[in-house]
């Protein structure tokens, strides 16, 4: 990378129906810092056509806790995209 801005590499997991839409269970995404969950989602959508069927504002968990799209991501984070839950 020619710029001085550091980058962040994180794992993105696709759960249940989203794994089916995307055709993968997880991927590694590198994004320039500072980046939010929304930035990462944009990259995922550009790299995986199937991910464009995921809603604009999906449920998102960062390191096992639900967060909103404006949350800033860090190196090594585990981001998970969750379909609406249907347990019970």
């Amino acid at each position: 990378m020619t710029e001085n801005r550091p980058s962040v590499t994180l794992t993105v997991q696709f759960l249940a129906r989203y794994a089916e839409l995307v055709g993968a269970e997880s991927t590694s995404i590198t994004v320039r810092a500072p980046a939010t969950v929304a930035h990462v989602l944009g990259i995922v959508r550009s790299q995986f056509p199937g991910a464009r069927q995921i809603p604009d504002r999906p449920l998102v968990a960062l390191n096992l806790a639900q967060v909103d799209l404006s949350t800033v991501v860090s190196n090594g984070d585990q981001l998970a995209l969750l379909p609406p839950v249907a347990g019970g």
Partner: protein
């Protein structure tokens, strides 16, 4: 404490209840969720639960802690993962308290919060050979995912 909330084996109700009963608790409320044979007018033959395991365990632990703190109860919960048949118990909640009001309230809270917050998903297999992901927010409550030939 290293509790497992998700299980691939049939839920042992006696064991679940034994985990919450004690001499100072006079009421135990138990809720069982079972697999229904229909959904939205379709005949369901079986289903499969999957979960985001680590988060589901963490979220269940948080919900149980909330209920225990709020009502002074002791709560035990298990949710099945994997393939289930009609009538199988998919989720069981047992809440024990000194008196029944607290036991009922805690039990109700735990099942409602689990359905709202715990990352578990359900795929239904229908008698007509189709399969769908259940999505309470989708029109009709499902996303048909594929046609299947049985």
């Amino acid at each position: 404490m290293n509790r497992q909330f998700l299980t691939e084996r049939p839920i042992d109700l006696e064991l679940l209840i034994s985990r919450v009963e004690s001499d100072e608790r006079g009421g135990i409320a138990v809720f069982l969720g079972t697999v229904r044979n229909h959904h939205g007018g379709r005949a369901v033959e079986r289903l499969e639960y999957s979960a985001y395991g680590p988060m589901a365990e963490a979220e269940c632990a948080r919900i149980v802690a909330e209920a225990e703190r709020t009502w002074g109860t002791t709560v035990a919960v298990e949710h099945r993962i994997g393939a289930l048949g009609i009538g199988d118990v998919s989720v069981a909640v047992a809440a024990a308290a000194a008196h029944r009001d607290e036991a009922f309230a805690a039990c109700r809270y735990v099942i409602e919060e689990m359905k709202r917050r715990v990352p578990i998903w359900k795929r239904e297999y229908y008698a007509d050979g189709t399969v769908a992901w259940v999505d309470p927010t989708a029109p009709g409550g499902i996303h048909l995912s594929e046609e299947r030939t049985l």
